[in-house]
Structure formats: C-alpha cells, structure tokens
C-alpha cells in the first residue's frame, strides 16, 4: 500500500513491520515523531511492544540493551545531542553483541544551538562498533529499518540507520508500505542462542583480562569484516521480496564518468538530479552512493572506483582539525594499495553545515570545480562560505 508520509513516520512503520518487542526512547527534535507514533501504536494495541518511557537517551539505550540481552527485538531513535549522550553505551551494546536497531536523525550539534541537518553526529560514532546506513529518501528509510534487523541479528551487532533532519524527517513523500506477511517471511522472530535467562544465569559483559580482551576485539572486527556481504545479501533478498533491491554502495552513471561524486544521505538525491542535467549536456558525471558507512565498504569502493580520475566527495560534516569525514575515509580506502600510480585525485567539499540549504546549483558548482581543476590543492573546499 502506498501512502504519503513523512520520513519520521516511515521509521515508525519500519519498526512496526519489524515487530519490535521493546521501544525505549527519549524525545528530541527532529526525531520525536518517530517514537510519538510508535507510542500511539503501542497504546492503540496496533503494535504488541513494550514502550518504555525513560529519562534520557543514555537510559533509552540501557533499556534497549536489557531488552536485547533478554532476547527481545529492541528499537530506539535519537538525534544529535541525544546520540552524543548515548556514546558510552554505543560501545557497550556493540561489545555486548546486541542487535539493537536505532534510527538517528542527522542534526547538527550545538552550540550554536541548531536543530537542522548535519552528518557529524552519526559520523562521530564511527568507532563504536555500530553498523551505519545512510538513507536517501523516505522509502529507503522504511526499508532500511527492516533490513537493519535482518543484518543486525545475523551478525549480533547493532545497526544505526540515518536520515536527514527535516529534508527527510519532516518531508512528506510517497512511500510503499510492504505487506506484513512478506516482512514476517523475511524477518523471522529473533531467537538468540545466548540470552539472559534468570533460570540459567550467566554473567554478561564481565571483566576480561588482557589475556583474552585482545582476541575479543579481534572477533568483533572479524564480524565487521563479514558485514558488507551479509548486508549486500540482505538488500538483495529484500529486493526480491518487494521489488526494491538495495546494495551497500550504489553506483549511478558511474562506468564512463570523468568525475565521480561520492555522497551519502539526501545529498545523493540532489546529485542524481544534477547528474541527469549534465548527462543531457553530454558531460560524463557519475555517482557512488555510500549507503553503508560502517563497516566501510572498502573492497566494493576500490572495485567501483578503479581507474577513475577525479572524485568529488561531498561532506555535510567535519572532523575538526582534519577534514570532511567521508573524504578521509575514502582517501584511506583508496591509497596505500601499492598502486599509487593509478590513484584518482580526490576533492573534499564541505557544504550545508547546520542545515544550510544545498541547491542543485551548489552541486553543479562542485562538479564544475572538479572538472576544471587539474589536481586537488587543498584538503577542504568550503562551499558557500561567506568570507
């Protein structure tokens, strides 16, 4: 069934279709409507889940961890400062191998106080052991919630799906809601082999000495290494089910492209529109959409960008004292492979921080700059900075 809905409600529908058992969340703009809708669904009996009201995001994650450890399918949603407050428990939940799914609505961190979109909040959690997926439209948002559980429960790792504040969260567009029956076939009930059980008590997350901690970390990384393939398959299988396949990275007009845009989130959508315009003019611009950011899909990125000359990375984020974060990650993936000769020039653009509007003209300017410049001269190219 198709429906015109806002991105936040697409998240709620995704959670509902995933038949989550426990929802624990704390309200924060621009995420609030996600849990508002879920709490209503619980109250109306349309969703058979326990909704836990909590006093902070830290408690929200703690509640989800308890629910997940006890074998429940747990869901939460947050944004910005709320996600920052969860940071400690993000390590704890991945270390505990708990397949929690969280929606994060990308919002800038304050001060200056700002409720508009920016990717820094989620990207700053890149080292916590959570998988991350970035969404381009509301359809992808709904679908990604469901796929996230599929992936998380196979890997015993938590997954964060990310959508842009307002541009998706508060924007209405057409979303196709899959049939519950189809999703039930795709996502069977969560039945972990090891779970907290008062009748058979075990210690979870206890002390591990240097003798074994190192190996425990190795195992987590080993699982992360398997994640791209698991995620790819999950997207493929989902596509067979509902007719919308997803991949961890998605090329668009890439094969013959002279300039490749690399982006995530709604910047991808804007870039597609610009690429269409350039292609009409005969200019070969292409795109690599990063759906999955953690683990970084290094192998696929290397394959898809092999032989490319110029790459424009668009970052709506910044790692202070360094550069845009996608830019860093992409460089790290492509260099040091002992094939320096073939490495492309990578241009790093920072744009739209704190929700400043990114227009098609802005993207076109990025493409033109990249086409024009012989080689990259600076680590950050500031777009639209009022100098």
């Amino acid at each position: 069934m198709k429906k015109v809905m806002m991105g936040n409600h697409a998240v709620s529908y995704g959670a509902r279709l995933s038949r989550v058992d426990v929802i624990a969340a704390y309200p924060i703009t621009p995420q609030t409507q996600i849990v508002e809708e879920l709490s209503e669904l619980c109250a109306d009996g349309k969703l058979d889940a326990k909704f836990i009201k909590v006093e902070s995001e830290h408690s929200a994650m703690a509640s989800c961890m308890g629910a997940s450890a006890a074998g429940g399918r747990a869901f939460t949603a947050t944004s910005s400062q709320g996600l920052a407050l969860m940071h400690e428990l993000l390590h704890f939940s991945s270390g505990g191998r708990l397949p929690i799914v969280m929606a994060n609505v990308n919002r800038a961190l304050g001060p200056g106080w700002n409720i508009w979109t920016e990717q820094t909040d989620s990207l700053a959690q890149r080292d916590t052991g959570w998988l991350q997926f970035y969404c381009e439209n509301n359809q992808e948002v709904l679908d990604t919630v469901i796929m996230s559980y599929k992936i998380a429960e196979q890997l015993s790792l938590p997954v964060m799906l990310v959508l842009d504040a307002f541009i998706l969260s508060h924007t209405y567009e057409i979303v196709d809601i899959p049939e519950q029956e189809a999703i039930d076939g795709y996502l069977p009930p969560y039945k972990p082999e090891i779970k907290m059980d008062v009748d058979n008590p075990h210690a979870f997350g206890a002390l591990v000495t240097p003798d074994h901690y190192y190996e425990i970390r190795y195992k987590l990384q080993e699982t992360m290494d398997r994640a791209p393939e698991v995620a790819r398959k999950a997207g493929e299988e989902y596509g067979k089910l509902v007719g919308r396949p997803y991949d961890i990275v998605e090329p668009y007009m890439l094969d013959d492209a002279d300039v490749v845009i690399v982006a995530a989130g709604t910047l991808v959508s804007n870039s597609r529109a610009v690429i269409n315009e350039y292609r009409e003019k005969g200019i070969k611009v292409g795109l690599l959409k990063l759906r999955m950011f953690r683990p970084f899909p290094t192998k696929r990125v290397r394959e898809l960008l092999a032989g490319k000359k110029k790459i424009a990375v668009i970052d709506r984020n910044i790692s202070f004292g360094a550069t845009g974060i996608f830019y860093q990650e992409l460089k790290a993936a492509l260099y040091g492979q002992n094939n320096g000769a073939g490495s492309p020039d990578i241009f790093g653009f920072i744009i739209g921080l704190g929700g400043r509007d990114v227009t098609l003209e802005d993207i076109a300017e990025i493409v033109d700059y990249t086409l024009e410049k012989e080689k990259n001269e600076e680590d950050i190219i500031w777009m639209g900075l009022k100098r």
């Binding site: 015993s156 082999e193 090891i194 075990h202």
Partner: protein, 583 residues
C-alpha cells in the same frame, strides 16, 4: 566450579562476553553483612484510629474491588463501619502520610462505602470462636457497650446488654441527627449484632430496674452508660421557658417528638452537640445562631460539621458568653452577652477566654439551647468507682472492683463514637483475660498497634498471617519512596445542595460509588505492608528474590542476596528492613 577454564585460541572463545558456566556457582550471599527482611510495620492511619481499624488492609482489598474481604477486615476491629463511615471525625485522615504528598486518603468515604456494601449484601460472616458458658452483662447499648458485646460474643461469651431507653444505640440513636446518620442504617448495624447472638434488653436501667448487686452476679460486667446531662450555664434566668438543654433537644427530636422553637434560637457552645443542635434548629424552620466563648479555631466540634453549618448559612458569634437570660412572665425574651478575649492557655492547651469589662450587650432570643458540655449521671453506680466525675479505670477499662469494667464517655477519654468503640474492644479483651485467669497487661506488646494505645483484635486472637510485624514501628512520610506514586486529588463526597437540605432531615452526605471507592483506595500508600508490587523482585541485582506461592510476599534466597539493600530502598512503602547480619 573449581576447574579453571583456559582459552588457547580464538576458536575457544564464546561468541560474546559471557561466562561459560552458570553464575549460580557464585554464591554472593557470602558477602552479606546486612540482611534485608520482609518486615511489616504499622501505618499511621491505624495508629491514629482509636478503634484501630486495619485501614491499610481494607484499602488493599478495596483497591482490588474485593469489598466483601474489605468489610471482613474492617469488622474485625469495628462492628459499625456504616455508622463510623458517617459520623466519625476520622483522625486516621489527619495521620495519613499521603497528606504530606498531595491530600490525605479519603478513608472515611471508603469506610462508608464498605459499610454500606456490607449492609447491601447482608454480610454477617462472623465467627464465634468457641461457645462459653460465662455470662456477661453490659450496661448501656451505646457504641461502647455494643462494641464490647460484639467482641465478647465473638470470643464465645453469652452477652446481655441492658439499655434504659426504648431503643438501643445511645448517642447514635438519641444524639446524632438523622441528616448525619439515618436511623435505618444504625438499626441495620445493630440488628446484625442481635442476629449474631448479642441479647439487648431495652427499657431496663441498671441500678434501678436491675439492682446493682444482681447485676454483679454476672461473670463480668461492662459499664458504658454514657453521659447525658448537659452542663448548666450557671447564669440567672436558666429556668425560664424556652431554655433547652442541647442533648434533651436532640433526644426529643430523635425520638420523633415535635419540639416547637421560636424564631430566634441561640445555641451556646462550640462542640458537636452545638453543631447538631443548631443545624437541627435550622431544619425546624428557626433562624439559629451559634454563640461561642472562644474563636473558631478552638471549637471542639468536627471541622466538617463546622464547615457544613457555615455552608448552611448559620451565623457564628465568637468570643461571647451569656451572662444573663432575661424573661417576661416566665418566658425567655432576651439574652445578655459579654464579650471575651483570649488569655493564657488553660490545661486543655487552648487559650482561656477572659471577660472584657463593660462589654455586655443584649440580643433578643426566643430560645436558648445549651451545649457547653455533658456530664455523667452516676446516681446508679457505686460511689467508690467514681473519681473526678468519671469512672476510674485503666487503659483497658478495668476498674478497681472486679468484675467491673467500664468504657465510653464515662471513663477518662475523648467523647467520640470511635473512642467509645475502641474502649469497648479493649474492655472485651481485658474481660477475656480476666475470665481466663490472665492479665491483659502482659499481652500489651503483642496487641498494640502504634504507640497511641490502640489495640488490634486480630492480633489479640492470634489471627495474623504472614511475616512478623512490628506493631510499634509506625511508618512516617520519610519512609515512603514517593518516586513510585503520582499526585492525584482525592475523590469528593457527594452532598445535597444547601437549599434543599435545610428544609428537611434527609442525609446530607452521600456514599461514593464503587469505582470511586476503588480508585480512591488505590491512592493508599499501603504504608509499611507489602502489597506485592514486585519492585524488590525487579530491582534485585542478584535475582535472589522470588514470589511465594501464598499471597504473603516474597522469599529471599540468602545464598545469593549480598545485602546491597536496593530492595529496601526501592520498596515504596517501607515493608522491608535491613538488619545487621548475625542478630
């Protein structure tokens, strides 16, 4: 588990950080030096109730909608819930911990609902422990006498109550007006006692119709004849036509007599008799007013009654006292009043009214109703039992002459219905102990609830189930974990509107409905008594607490309880205590 597990490779490691064996091997109970125990305490309402009703328990059942059980719990201590639910001054509510949180629990209105429920469904599941041959006589069928008879009957004795008036009930029958206590309610509650085997003989005055010596032939006797003589004003003109004693006035009205009053009726006094008299006079069509020698704050009447009188538009003149009643041809015409001011506190702790020189003034009155206090008429009681105008007795109503016991208004205690009921219960226990060669004083520790003299019949007959109870530890507001309660106003009691009610003797206050009674009972903190809220079980970090199969609480597995005390802290109602290990 004694074997040490060694991982030699990554493959050996479990998939997540989890112990290989069960944590049951780790008997954390060995760390404990403080032991949590389920330890019931006394709720302040119970301590505050002179009849020691187990309020907390009947709230537990009322909140769950089991009003049969609530009624049983209530009548364990007090045979007249429908009466007390109407006329009691409810000191329980002023003791209620909830008062510090939002508003005290509406105990009186719930008690009334439960009492009415008992009448509606003719509940009378009383049990007589074992029939005994001993015969006990009670003088006076007021609340004290009937309460004593009720409890003695439950203990198996053959009880006869002698009442000098035509009908039983005492002050309930002849003092309290119908608009506060309809006769059919009172009579239904008394009839229940009769069905239960309490014999009531009316129109028989002990010391007159039955000689004192004959009365004493019983195995034990209980004196509860009440006080019925209104105190005199001791001013000139008191014998004029139109001057009426308050209690006589109420008694005549309650007996169905026509009492004709003039227009201007002055009621002298500030107690319950004064309020009853003035509101009755209003209903008879007069324009009555209260004259009281102190201020409103010192009035001894129940606050509710004062407020109702005010609502009914009755004027109250404070700091005045009559100094002369003025007549014409033997009939009352006017009253001379003198203004007073408050001086030093007297022995009652209230400031003593002192006359203001030259402040006299005169008001025209057709009637004066005196209600400045009552005293006993002890002409039929042996003089040696009397001292300072009361029957000398100890806390359990034991006089110096065996087998004479006494209670109600004739002993030294506040003149309220609920104190009378409490004294009847205490005397019943004392008589039982006496007849069995024991001494009630030795049981005091076991049967007292709280530290204000109240006693529990349930504990007296050893009926308390469950874990040990500390009768004397009363839960304070500080002991309540208020995080678990949300603020909520108490339910309002339905009332007749003023215009209608002052034209007749219809009952002014109504009974709340079943939903309101349940909802109101849910407001109860259940101070000091476990109500199986599961908080301890949920919070125990060692999963050492389990529900027991019976209703009464939980079991702590001390092999794992490490004595952290979280259960004690998280108990909303202080039903757990932490005690040093080894004691």
């Amino acid at each position: 588990m004694s074997k040490k597990i060694t991982f030699t490779s990554i493959a050996d490691l479990p998939p997540l950080v989890v112990s290989m064996g069960t944590t049951e091997v780790n008997a954390t109970g060995s760390w404990r030096y403080l032991r949590p125990v389920y330890h019931d305490k006394t709720a302040p309402c119970i301590e505050g109730c002179p009849a020691s009703e187990d309020i907390e328990q009947y709230m537990y059942w009322a909140a769950r909608g089991d009003f049969d059980k609530a009624w049983e719990v209530l009548v364990e201590e007090n045979p007249f819930p429908a009466v007390c639910g109407r006329v009691c001054y409810h000191p329980c509510e002023s003791s209620c911990n909830r008062d510090h949180f939002d508003q005290s629990l509406g105990i009186n209105s719930i008690e009334r609902f439960i009492g009415d429920h008992g009448l509606e469904f003719s509940l009378d599941r009383f049990k007589v422990a074992e029939e005994r041959e001993q015969k006990i006589a009670v003088a006076g069928a007021g609340p004290a006498g009937l309460a004593a008879a009720y409890h003695l009957r439950r203990l198996g004795y053959q009880v006869t109550v002698y009442e000098k008036e035509e009908k039983p009930g005492g002050i309930l029958q002849y003092g309290i007006p119908r608009y506060r206590l309809p006769k059919h309610i009172l009579e239904a509650e008394i009839m229940r006692l009769e069905r239960f085997g309490v014999e009531i003989k009316t129109g028989v005055q002990v010391g007159k119709d039955i000689p004192w010596n004959e009365f004493l032939q019983h195995d034990a006797v209980f004196l509860a004849v009440g006080v019925h003589k209104s105190r005199k004003l001791n001013v000139p003109g008191e014998d004029l036509d139109g001057v009426i004693a308050g209690l006589d006035f109420l008694s005549r009205i309650n007996s169905g007599e026509d009492v004709s009053l003039g227009k201007n009726v002055a009621v002298i006094g500030g107690g319950n008799t004064a309020m009853d008299a003035v509101r009755t006079a209003l209903r008879l069509g007069s324009t009555p007013a209260i004259y009281y020698r102190r201020t409103r704050a010192e009035m001894p009447a129940i606050l509710d009654e004062i407020e109702e009188a005010e609502r009914e538009g009755i004027p109250m003149e404070f700091l005045v006292t009559p100094v002369e009643l003025i007549g014409e041809n033997g009939a009352l015409k006017a009253m001379k009043l003198q203004r007073m001011e408050l001086g030093e506190p007297d022995e009652s702790g209230r400031r003593r009214p002192v006359p203001v020189e030259g402040s006299e003034y005169v008001v025209e009155v057709d009637n004066v109703i005196t209600a400045i206090g009552e005293q006993g008429d002890f002409t039929s009681i042996p003089e040696k039992l009397i001292e300072w105008g009361v029957v000398k007795s100890d806390a359990f109503g034991q006089t110096e002459q065996r087998p004479v016991f006494a209670g109600g208004d004739i002993i030294e205690q506040p003149h309220t219905v609920v104190h009378a009921i409490g004294s009847g219960k205490k005397a019943a226990m004392a008589i039982h102990a006496y007849l069995n060669g024991g001494d009630i004083a030795t049981l005091a520790d076991k049967i007292h609830v709280g530290n204000k003299g109240g006693v529990s019949f349930l504990r007296f007959r050893d009926g308390h189930e469950g874990d040990p109870v500390d009768n004397h530890e009363v839960v304070t507001f500080e002991n309540i974990n208020t995080s678990y309660f949300t603020r909520k106003d108490r339910h309002q009691v339905p009332e007749l509107d003023v215009k209608t009610r002052i034209t007749n003797f219809e009952e002014v206050k109504g009974t709340i409905d079943r939903e309101a009674a349940m909802d109101e009972a849910l407001r109860c903190f259940n101070c000091g008594v476990c109500n199986m809220c599961d908080n301890c079980l949920v919070f125990c970090p060692d999963v050492a607490i389990k529900r027991r199969d019976d209703r009464f609480r939980y079991e702590i597995d001390y092999a794992y309880c490490k004595g952290c005390g979280i259960c004690v802290v998280e108990c909303p109602r202080s039903a757990l205590s932490l005690v040093p290990e080894g004691k």
